[in-house]
Symmetry: C2
Subunit: 339 residues, 2 copies
DNA sequence: CTCCTTGGTTACATCGTTGTAGTGAAAGTA
DNA sequence: TACTTTCACTACAACGATGTAACCAAGGAG
């Protein structure tokens, strides 16, 4: 920067001003600096700027795992949106592990970032005190840390309600709630509550045998739990997978056992991942509006970073969702199967 | 750091030495510093260290897209391995776009990183001059920049050869090479060459009708191209998808059209993504040894960063691969279908 | 008994920016 | 005319670490 200043015959500070869009500058000065920058191929040193400013222009996105399609797709969206704000995204994965979630919030990378977008799996409201101490934070998924961070919410109860209602509308009575039992995850509790509300409204009983827990929310887990349910002789005419991975795992097992989807059993998921569109049959799912979630999360985080203490003015926005009907609940050319 | 030094009654430099494992220090001094650090809850400022040292401790992983399972899984591995070296990974996606690949190498993030692991899609040998000018670089996939960067290679020809040989061994004669035609990608050319070599060795003709190009290497593209091939009335008894996504797309279309897999058509892919294990039927695939690739890539990059100019001593390592036979080529309980 | 080495520590300058305070000049106000 | 305001720019000191050179002790070589 000194060299540029020398070549343009101005002070270093003026060059700095040039890069920071300082308005009061003669056009001629600006032009001289521009020429000098070009000639020397100079680039502003981000590290020095970070040191001086005390902020890095980086944010973390903290998610359980990238090899789950939902998170990979979310990460992509967040990276793109952040770029429009001049922010760089550091993707952290935790495997849903408590220690790794805490580490991501307060560990080594803590001082590398200006804020974080966090999709907690293991951490809950009781961990509030350990929440990154003053780190600007946007929580994804559920209102867990009321009054401590901004939230971008998925309307879990409503999403589940809509999914189950759809199954009821096409005439299903015995719905396997896949993922409902996994204790410790708040999302599971809310989606279960929404599901049961929908059943109740339809005048259907909640059968405890059909509330199934899984070991994680992966295809493997969905497949295994569904296989177990079938082996136990539980009978059902629909599966509500609490995410697409679970639903796809279930569908795989159903087909494997010679059951027809949706003929014998209808299947619905949540997330609208790319995989859902390419399953066989294609998977009906609840789309959570991923692009919207990413955009709102980054926007909230940016304004929190800019104004750290808008005293307790923590915001919550809820993303829109949408039912996307595909072949796993209503086969093409099939009459609506409502009696 | 000044505060720590004051509390421990030593100089700042001694505290710095403590953090950098400087060996000549009295145990008693070390203990005093340790106590002071604990008491003040002090953490070394990474930004200042980066400024002073001229290196950031971050590396880029530059891949086409995260929502392709192969890259998501690779990213996860690279992040984990890098962490064992104390390195932070910045994941960049390019959509296989030329400009974005160049931007990732020499753009804004250039000075944020000490090196990059790069899986090029659009860039080829002719772009060598624009290659990040002195940025330590490890290229993934193919030997494209001989003498300019280290490489971790996938034995594309051998992998393809083995895949096609497997299909031939189970008695297939007319094999659709899915992804072969996409011009511009070197991987495609090598895999095609390996495939054709295997056919030639088996005394089988190469039918141009069965060399099919796709619009990208996604499920969508695989499905579309396969559908087109069927519509054109081309006949084949096996599909070699140049990656798992293509193969799964193909398999989906085949089942959709009422063909049996592997009864009528066997399907094989490359990558051994998680999806391959959960396809219906499960997908036979060539495993490229992802963990090994990640480890070697990070190791090469680290040594390149430590010794920037081991004059032209650029290394190439080739990862091991393995054929993983699943139900899409040999149905369980089926006799080996070789005549 | 001096001269050199090795161990343990320190003072200081420096990495490349940007905030603060301040300097002239030109323009607007009383 | 004198006085404030706005404009365009500058000098200097930080931000928090680390490399360099140098220092003082203690022990070994000559």
């Amino acid at each position: 920067m000194h060299d540029v200043a020398a070549l343009a015959r101005v002070s270093v500070k003026t060059v700095s001003n040039y890069f920071n869009g300082y308005p009061y500058m003669r056009a001629e000065t600006r032009a001289r600096i521009e020429r000098a920058v070009d000639e020397l191929g100079y680039r502003l040193n981000v590290t020095a700027r970070s040191l001086r400013r005390g902020s890095t222009g980086m944010i973390s996105l903290i998610v359980p795992e990238l090899d789950q399609a939902y998170f990979a797709e979310l990460a992509q969206e967040v990276i793109d949106v952040a770029a429009t704000f001049g922010l760089t995204v550091l993707v952290e994965t935790t495997s849903g592990d408590r220690d790794r979630e805490l580490e991501a919030l307060s560990g080594l990378h803590r001082q590398l970032i200006d804020g974080a977008i966090f999709d907690p799996l293991a951490l809950g409201p009781s961990d509030a005190p350990q929440l990154g101490g003053g780190l600007p934070l946007v929580i994804l998924g559920e209102r867990q840390f009321e009054g401590l961070a901004d939230h971008v919410l998925i309307a879990d109860e409503e999403v589940a309600h809509r999914a189950v209602s759809h199954l009821v509308e096409i005439g299903r009575r015995r719905i396997l709630l896949l993922g409902a039992g996994s204790p410790g995850t708040h999302t599971a509790i809310l989606r279960r509550r929404g599901s049961e509300a929908a059943l109740a409204e339809a005048g259907l009983p909640v059968d405890g045998d059909l509330v199934v827990s899984t070991d994680g929310w992966t295809r493997d887990a969905g497949a295994a739990a569904t296989a177990r349910a079938l082996d136990d002789g539980r009978r059902f005419d629909a599966v509500f997978g609490f995410n697409d991975a679970l639903a796809l795992g279930a569908q795989w097992v159903l087909l494997e056992r010679g059951l027809a989807v949706p003929g014998d059993v209808a299947v619905i998921g949540v997330d609208d991942t790319r995989d859902a569109r390419f399953a066989h049959p294609t998977l009906t799912t609840m789309s959570p509006g991923r692009a919207q979630i990413a955009r709102r999360a980054v926007e909230l985080l940016v304004s929190r970073i800019r104004e750290p203490e808008t005293e307790n003015g923590f915001a919550s926005v809820t993303a829109d969702f949408e039912l996307i009907v595909r072949d796993s609940t209503v086969a093409p050319g099939t009459l609506n199967s409502t009696p």
